[in-house]
């Protein structure tokens, strides 16, 4: 503004002339409004007709002092003494000083006043200092559908700075225009609603269609435009939810892809390692409570902590027990199930059976609004990013590090690897620790979107195994594709089959899929496949 004005002297002189005028107006405005407030106030003490009129005037005036008065009126806590209106706290609404309450009576209202009151309250809240209240006000104005709201809404939109609220106000404005008497204004409303992508706007238009037979064509066009956008929005949101579920499955299954897929050890306690990770997050958070500046960063701190805790638990399990059962997968399955049971009960006794609350740091909260009305919860977005990051790190660890090389060597041929000087026992322990640590990291992510309870892991273990089997045992890329595929499939089926049947359907689909490709999507080829 400043810059442009400097380049245009003519405009600048106009500005300098108009500015004082504007300032005068600005100062005069509250005074005028105050007068309007004081003028309208005694009307509340009159008959129902007078009351309704006074309510309308108070609502139109936009004075902040009218809000408590109208609220009290709608709660039936407003009293009157002659023409003096008394607030619930006993003060004169006009002067703010204690009023004479002797002989005061409650102001009663009828339905006409009540409906005027709703619109007026909505309009007054449009100027509230809180964005949430303004949003709610726009919402209620949207629903009240009165052409009188057009002017206050236009004023509110001009002032509004929060995009979310502004969008809602524009919708409300369009809705108010829809019931205006002027056909041109009506068309404007229809056009604006047609650009929205909400069910409300659609319902509103359909309603208006019956009332305005002359505008059917325009309305139909607007509805069709909403529909196409809604379809896109739904598809996008389904995709996002699917990817979100998929990323959770990926996190939970990644560790399993290492221990089960690469090592061939079936670890039914894997879900409990996930649960341990979630509880580590909780413990780290509680430990950070004493240090206020650290608290927002407790979640990133939990990631290495959970990796360590679950990794150590995994090492202990592998060295202590699983090692003795190599080559006996069914026994390993049963044994680890028992270990999972013990871990679950131990955590239940230590932390209690009820859910523990893990807070989301402020930078993870909130909703990200994409164009087209697509809403994405930020913490789920973070989980997706985190899962891909973990996948990348895992791939790098296996492909690029010395440990990864040794691990692959042991998997391909244990005896040759041992002959080459690789300490296979140590590699086994490290691999298992790595897979378990990944489970712990999954727990950190799950603590953000699921309840942290002792049986957190049981809900994921079966799905994770399905992911590994579906994607192809021994293939991390298969795990990625399997997890995302199952996640999206689940969410696509969900809308018309319900969450439970979607799960059942996915299980059935997997079973049938295995018929065609018993070794999964990305099957290992050659010798390793028969190992």
């Amino acid at each position: 503004m400043e810059k442009r004005a400097a380049g245009q002297p003519a405009a600048r002189t106009i500005m300098t002339r108009i500015l004082p005028l504007l300032l005068v107006l600005l100062f005069a405005l509250p005074a005028a409004a105050q007068d309007a407030f004081l003028d309208a106030l005694p009307g509340l003490a009159g008959g129902f007709g007078t009351q309704a009129e006074a309510v309308e005037r108070l609502g139109a005036g936009g004075d902040a002092r009218a809000l408590p008065v109208l609220r009290a009126l709608s709660d039936s806590t407003l009293r009157k003494n002659g023409s003096t209106v008394i607030l619930p706290d006993g003060t004169d609404a006009a002067t703010g000083r204690p009023a004479d309450t002797a002989g005061a009576e409650t102001v009663r209202i009828n339905n006409r006043v009540r409906s005027a009151l709703r619109g007026a309250l909505g309009r007054l809240q449009l100027v509230s200092a809180h964005a949430d209240e303004r949003y709610a006000a726009a919402d209620s104005v949207f629903r009240s559908r009165s052409a009188d709201n057009v002017a206050p809404l236009e004023a509110a939109i001009a002032r509004e700075s929060v995009p979310r609220v502004k969008e809602r106000q524009q919708l409300a404005l369009a809705a108010s225009r829809l019931v205006a008497a002027d056909a041109a204004v009506k068309r404007q409303g229809i056009a604006t609603l047609g650009e929205a992508s909400s069910e409300d706007a659609r319902a509103l238009l359909l309603e208006a269609r019956a009332a305005n037979p002359d505008m059917t064509a325009e309305i139909d066009r607007a509805v069709a435009s909403i529909d196409s956008r809604l379809t896109f929005k739904r598809a996008a949101e389904t995709l996002f939810q699917g990817l979100s579920l998929g990323s959770v499955l990926l996190l939970a299954a990644l560790g399993l892809a290492i221990t089960f897929g690469v090592m061939g050890v079936i670890n039914m306690a894997h879900g409990e390692f996930v649960m341990l990770g979630a509880y580590t997050t909780f413990v780290v958070q509680e430990a950070c409570r004493g240090i206020p500046w650290l608290l927002p960063w407790s979640l990133p701190l939990s990631v290495p902590a959970a990796f360590l805790v679950a990794g150590l638990a995994g090492t202990a399990l592998e060295r202590g027990l699983i090692r003795h059962l190599y080559g006996r997968p069914l026994e390993t399955l049963l044994m680890t199930f028992g270990v999972g049971m013990i871990l679950q009960q131990a955590v239940r006794l230590a932390f209690g059976a009820q859910n523990r609350e893990v807070l989301s740091p402020a930078w993870m909260q909130g909703i990200l609004s994409l164009p087209g009305g697509i809403n994405i919860t930020q913490n789920r977005l973070w989980v997706i990013v985190f899962s891909l990051l973990v996948l990348g790190l895992t791939l790098a660890a296996i492909r690029l590090t010395r440990f990864g090389l040794e691990m692959r060597a042991v998997v391909q041929n244990r005896r040759t690897a041992a002959t080459m000087g690789i300490r296979t026992g140590r590699v086994d322990a490290l691999t298992f620790a790595f897979g378990s640590g990944l489970a712990g990291m999954a727990g950190v992510a799950l603590s953000q979107i699921d309840n942290v309870s002792p049986n957190l892991g049981t809900g994921y273990i079966i799905d994770s195994f399905m992911v590994v089997v579906f994607g192809g045992v021994g293939s991390l890329i298969g795990t990625l594709v399997g997890a995302m595929g199952l996640g999206v499939l689940n969410k696509v089926i969900e809308p018309w089959a319900g969450a439970v049947l979607a799960k059942v359907a996915v299980l059935v689909i997997i079973m049938l899929f295995i018929q065609r490709r018993p070794r999964g999507l990305f099957a290992l080829k050659g010798r390793a496949a028969e190992a």
Binding site: I266, T332, G338, F465
Partner: protein
């Protein structure tokens, strides 16, 4: 897979096998006495409470389930983590019959529809409920439904050579999916409340000593019958092929046997036994709900077999009785400890006692 047919050891001239057989016979006779002792006057020292009869009856049903698992796992090497589902399906079939028998005695007093259907606004009986008012049909369904499910799952799995842990995971997913499905109200199986409040069976009111004793003997007969059947199977050529499949599946296939058919036969048979056990279990405990499908139940049943010693049949019975006796005692004395003990049993029996209690007994007898 260690060999399970250990040479029979001897103690002072009597073969260990005969000692075992005698012990089983005595145990079964003692069990058969329980309902009679229930009839003694209340102040008698030998009187057995109603609770004991019901609980023991429940264990007998569990023992049949364990036997079914042992037949598939111990002999054919098929570790199913979904046998609880077959058990529960059998239970639901019997539960449907019992619900139909309530008739107009329900809370809403509807002549045909069970209470939960009236509550959920059903107009008429769903088609799959028809016929369940006849007892033979219900018993038939308690065998057919689990058998059919086992056939489908088994056929699809064995045909594509899904073995070992993969099959275990598939069956676990199966029981998990069924649990989710049965929790739904619109399935027409009572949702998460399942069926309860049964009144009578075969014209006998359920909550009587006589009915309990009848069910108890029915369960005992089922157990004895299953044991004889399983013993017969493992003694025939079929049993030998099964053991061969367990120990070297590929070789059996290369020898020209249809491994799929053998595995499928034993798996379906095992599921039918589990279904029958479930059908007797429901009137004994008086309730069936989707919780019976929980994957944990199936795997717990597997551990009974492991504790007793798999591939022995007798071990399955021994395990089912001993673990459940321990559970009943411990959950009343120290409920918090039970899961530790159960988890510990899983670990101990797989790592330290791979041949179970029977193995322990046999090596002691040597």
């Amino acid at each position: 897979m260690s060999a399970t047919t250990a040479p029979a050891g001897t103690t002072r001239g009597i073969p260990a096998r005969q000692i075992l057989r005698g012990a089983i016979l005595i145990a079964i006779l003692l069990l058969a006495l329980l309902p009679l002792l229930n009839h003694l006057p209340a102040d008698s020292a030998f009187r057995v409470s109603d609770f004991t009869v019901a609980v023991t009856g429940k264990w007998i049903c569990y023992a049949v389930l364990a036997l079914a698992i042992d037949l598939a796992w111990g002999y054919a090497g098929i570790l199913s983590l979904g046998h609880g589902a077959f058990f529960a399906l059998g239970g639901y079939a019997m539960g449907m019959h019992l619900m139909r028998l309530i008739g107009p005695r329900g809370v809403y007093g509807h002549p045909v529809l069970p209470d939960f259907m009236v509550f959920l606004g059903y107009r008429e009986l769903p088609w799959y409920w028809l016929g369940f008012d006849h007892f033979p049909y219900a018993i038939l369904m308690a065998m057919v439904v689990p058998g059919l499910l086992a056939f489908v799952v088994g056929y699809l799995s064995f045909r594509s050579r899904i073995t070992g842990v993969y099959f275990s995971i598939i069956t676990q997913a199966m029981t998990y999916a069924l649990m989710l499905a049965f929790f739904r109200n619109d399935m027409g199986f009572g949702g998460n409340n399942g069926f309860t409040d049964f009144k009578q069976l075969l014209g006998v009111p359920l909550n009587t000593q006589g009915a309990r004793a009848g069910l108890f003997y029915a369960a005992l007969a089922l157990l004895a019958g299953s044991l004889v059947l399983c013993r017969h199977i493992v003694g025939t050529k079929l049993g030998r092929v099964l053991v061969a499949v367990r120990d070297a599946e590929s070789r059996v296939r290369f020898l020209g046997y249809s491994v799929t058919a053998f595995k499928l036969t034993v798996f379906v048979l095992s599921a039918v036994l589990a279904g029958l056990a479930g059908a007797l279990y429901v009137p004994l405990v008086g309730i069936i709900n989707p919780g019976e499908f929980a994957p944990g139940n199936s795997i717990e049943a597997v551990i009974w077999v492991a504790v007793g010693g798999r591939g022995t049949l007798i071990g399955a019975l021994l395990g089912a009785f001993s673990v459940n006796a321990l559970k009943t005692w411990l959950t009343s004395v120290a409920p918090d400890l039970w899961l530790f003990v159960l988890g510990g049993l899983f670990v101990a029996v797989t790592v330290f006692l791979p041949r179970g209690l029977i193995g322990l007994f046999r090596s002691a007898a040597k």
